[in-house]
Amino acid sequence: MAMQMLPPDWPGNFWAHWAIFAVAVLVFVLLMVIVFIWFERRAMAVMQARLGPNRAGPFGLLQSVADALKILIKEDIIPARSDKLVHWLAPVVAFVPALLIFAVIPFRGGAILADLNIGILYIVAISSITTVGIFMAGWSSNNKYSTLGAMRQVASVVSYEIPVVLSLVGVILLAGSLSMQQIVAAQNIPFILLQPLGFLLFFTGALAEINRAPFDLTEADSELVAGYMTEYSGMKFGLFFLAEYAEALAISAIVTTIFLGGWRGPLLPDWLWFLVKVFIVFFVIVWIRTTVPRLRIDQLMALAWKFLFPLALLNLLITAIEILVWPAVSLWVFVPINIAIAIVLVVLWSKFFKLGWGKVEV
């Protein structure tokens, strides 16, 4: 099936291209976030032997709209001794980077807002700004438990950045370019098969960065603090909530583009494949949330530094060796080799992984 590649600056005029795509990205993200909230509630409910929301609108599709309306009309309470400007800015700083990531995601062949040749670097840089927003929220609330929660979040994000970036470098080595378009174009074999260990590391690290289970201790409601969102109400809380789902959408889109082959697929049109893959990745995220209990903060940091980080380094080393030593061999040879190496490494490293070299209990 011939891929209809749109020219990169369709429809010719720079400003028209930018305007159309900016509006399209905004609409896409907001719509998909609403659909994701509905999808998560229904999928989690069916896995828990019950029905999700099904009263507001057909199949409960308007439930998110009802929730959004409710949040909009709530009173906006600002603590008296908080830092007012920072308090007001924090939700914005937390939400906007999630939107900015979509500038470099290819939705279909050639349909991309800006085909930067440093696509992945841009994503890594922008996604760290969310943490600044969260810390601003925790700090400005004038509440020591919010600050504690926000500091935990900063510590966990900083710890998980490194395995995430290192696993991305493996993909970059295989594709030969940082640009997202090129990465999709280079995936004759989806990179999930060629980099199974990298996929697992990236997925785990990404879950930790977007604060979803099993790493959601900063927003857990059976912990002492309610996290950085305690002092927020009304639409500001709504923005944090949207930011969480927008980041989940962003991670699903990134995983689809980098590991699953983006919009490439045999029979269906390109944009449909993209949507299907994004939904599958999000379903896996919801599935994990439904099943797995939560980690404690020191266990979370130990997992990042002692388990994921060495494996990420090893993954990078092995990928580099494979590319250098056998450049002419067809890539299909590497699929079983890499999968075998991934399994062996995970099994072996699990045996060695202990908290505090075994001296610390649990």
């Binding site: 069916v46 019950r50 997992l303």
Partner: protein
């Protein structure tokens, strides 16, 4: 934290959750679907049989809250007291059924329904006109197996019966 089983525990848990996608949820969509409640259900009203009641007051003595108020007149007709006031404060009542068990003349029953909420607390008091057995106000089979046999069978979850519309 040890990771000795290299994630197999997590994988097994995930397999259990995914299997539930293929099962029917066990929710009953009330009020379109309803379950048949137990035949001996202790419902939210008391039902009184005027012909059998003699005004002896055993039920009022058996109630440990004092939710039953009886007032009789000494008009001895057919060797029975004339019961002038028979009032149950269903707001106080805990529906334990001790009064039903205590009645020696089988004149008091618990009702079979559960949808009996009112807007004001004063409306919860049942006077003797509101306690007659009618087709809408059915008698439950608590303590009376004869009456229980006439009621429909209970929907049980062990039988995967989740109600009908």
């Amino acid at each position: 934290m040890k990771f000795e089983r290299y994630g197999i525990g997590i994988a097994r848990g995930l397999s259990v959750t995914i299997r539930h996608l293929l099962r029917r949820p066990i929710t009953t969509q009330y009020p379109e679907q309803r379950l048949n409640i137990s035949r001996r259900s202790r419902g939210n009203e008391l039902i009184w049989d005027e012909n059998k009641c003699t005004g002896c007051g055993t039920c009022a003595k058996a109630c440990h809250i004092g939710a039953i108020h009886i007032s009789t007149s000494t008009n001895l007709v057919d060797n029975k007291y004339k019961v002038e006031k028979y009032e149950v404060d269903t707001g106080c009542c805990i529906f334990c059924g001790l009064c039903v068990e205590a009645c020696p003349f089988e004149a008091l029953f618990l009702s079979y329904d559960y949808e009996r909420s009112q807007y004001r607390r004063g409306d919860l008091v049942q006077t003797k006109e509101m306690m007659m057995e009618t087709p809408e106000r059915k008698v439950s089979g608590y303590f009376y197996p004869g009456r229980a046999a006439k009621l429909p069978r209970q929907s049980l979850l062990v039988n995967n019966d989740r109600g009908k519309t």
